[in-house]
Symmetry: none
């Protein structure tokens, strides 16, 4: 959608409803028939963030074999997605900087899953191992949704080997 594209690229505050309307090819008034306010439009866009995260994490979360949990986690950022999805995720990461939208516990389920995997594999400090791996997954994801997949690709195999 037009709003998603603009919010993701210019930011929420720098995107006027008139620009959204123009890009979407509709009248400005129509936006406010669909959404109570500009903020509400953003909220609607963010609404399915949780379910989308769950969907992306699905493969990891249902995995029982700890070694596979690690492997699949590392692969997460490298999944090929419809590039239009990048807008969505870019907006997600951007809003981490907006206190109103930042939920520091959002990654917890994944962190816990990976921690359990490291535990099962008898790593001496599973929480810290997990914390670091999740940092890496996020950092790589950010570079990729920002458009720099090429520079990150080589890290995939490298990490897979490292954590084998």
């Amino acid at each position: 959608m037009a709003a998603l594209e603009l919010f993701a690229n210019k930011g929420y505050d720098a995107t006027s409803t008139s620009k959204i309307a123009k890009l979407a090819g509709v009248s400005e008034g129509l936006i406010f028939k669909h959404f109570e306010s500009k903020k509400d439009l953003l909220n609607a866009l963010m609404k399915d963030a949780e379910s989308k995260l769950a969907e992306v994490w699905w493969e990891v979360m249902e995995e029982e074999n700890p070694r596979e949990v690690i492997r699949k986690s590392i692969n997460l950022p490298f999944k090929e997605v419809d590039p239009s999805e990048h807008d969505f995720w870019r907006l997600q990461f951007k809003l981490k900087w907006d206190n109103e939208y930042h939920n520091p516990n959002k990654m917890n389920p994944l962190v816990d899953k990976i921690t359990a995997a490291f535990e099962a594999l008898n790593y001496p400090e599973p929480e810290k191992e997990s914390s670091i791996l999740v940092h890496l997954i996020e950092a790589i994801s950010i570079e990729i949704v920002r458009g720099d997949a090429a520079s990150q690709k080589p890290l995939q195999q490298f990490l897979l080997d490292k954590y084998k």
Copy 2:
């Protein structure tokens, strides 16, 4: 300065020049005597980013001993700084999302230095090792300037041990 505080907390677009003036306790007109435009004010704030980076990296960059390079790099995010500096760095990281201000090569000197260190230590894939360590350093820095130093602190010793 007032502008830095507001830009860092609310974002550039959500911060009006009138709010800056009010918080700074000066007239709105005065701002435009000092800076040509609001953008110019932001630029001035960002101006010393490079020199500040260099300053922060100084210890690392002048180090000759590769093992020490790694150690000092890991310690970078944990340096105690005047908390007012957090505004500055928070703004830096925030603007990474603004294409106009994002310079993907900003980290290069540090990356190169760390790569050379890993090379000297005969790591088989020094570039990738370096790339990953820098990702971690950035990820940890972000959490810290966002206000969550506590959760990151334990990672310091853990990383120091891991890379010893």
Copy 3:
């Protein structure tokens, strides 16, 4: 009707067609099937003002006995009416302030009838007597439709005595 209630309470300009539609429980489009425009809706509401006035005045106008004319005129504002009618009359009085709807001759028939009565009773200045009594009738009516019947009630008998 919903429009009458809103026009009478909030005023014509402060009442949007969407609020009317919502209160009436119909679609906004429907309003414009029934009325050409918002103004036309107001006109329709005002349409029967004249006939309603005539109806209210009926008792007075058909009276032959001058003393009875005066008595019945004084009683006019105190007639018990369906309180939903207050919306109608409140709107009437409110629109007196709108030049487009103010008709300074609206009261003429009543004024003339009362003047004739005072004449028949040999009052020396029947026009002025009439003018004043009509002022009083209107002033009392206004207070009553505005919701303050209690404070006006005592004036009824007082005036009846005064003009006996």
Copy 4:
């Protein structure tokens, strides 16, 4: 002022800030440097209503002789005023219909003063006499500020004689 003129003639809701600005020959923005909001502008206009009322009533209120109190009260609506003042008073009367601005006790001081006068003159029902006279004064005032002074003028002497 421009706002007063428009509010008095078209009504508060029917008067846009852009029309006010245009009539006043200033930019729309300037209005909001002087007043926080359109409502605040109206409030500012109404602010001195009380002091103006007191000023107009002054002659009556300070009078000791009851006969003179009545006489001066009757004369109140007929005082020659700068016709620009009519805008002010027209707005006052108009806002009586706006619950937010209607203060039913506004007339109390005058009512009380006149009641006392009728009492001193041994009228049997001073409150009702007062109530009626104040109704008349208001009704006449309304006609005059609405622009119909001519039709009301003859009532002045008539009332003076009646209450002598």
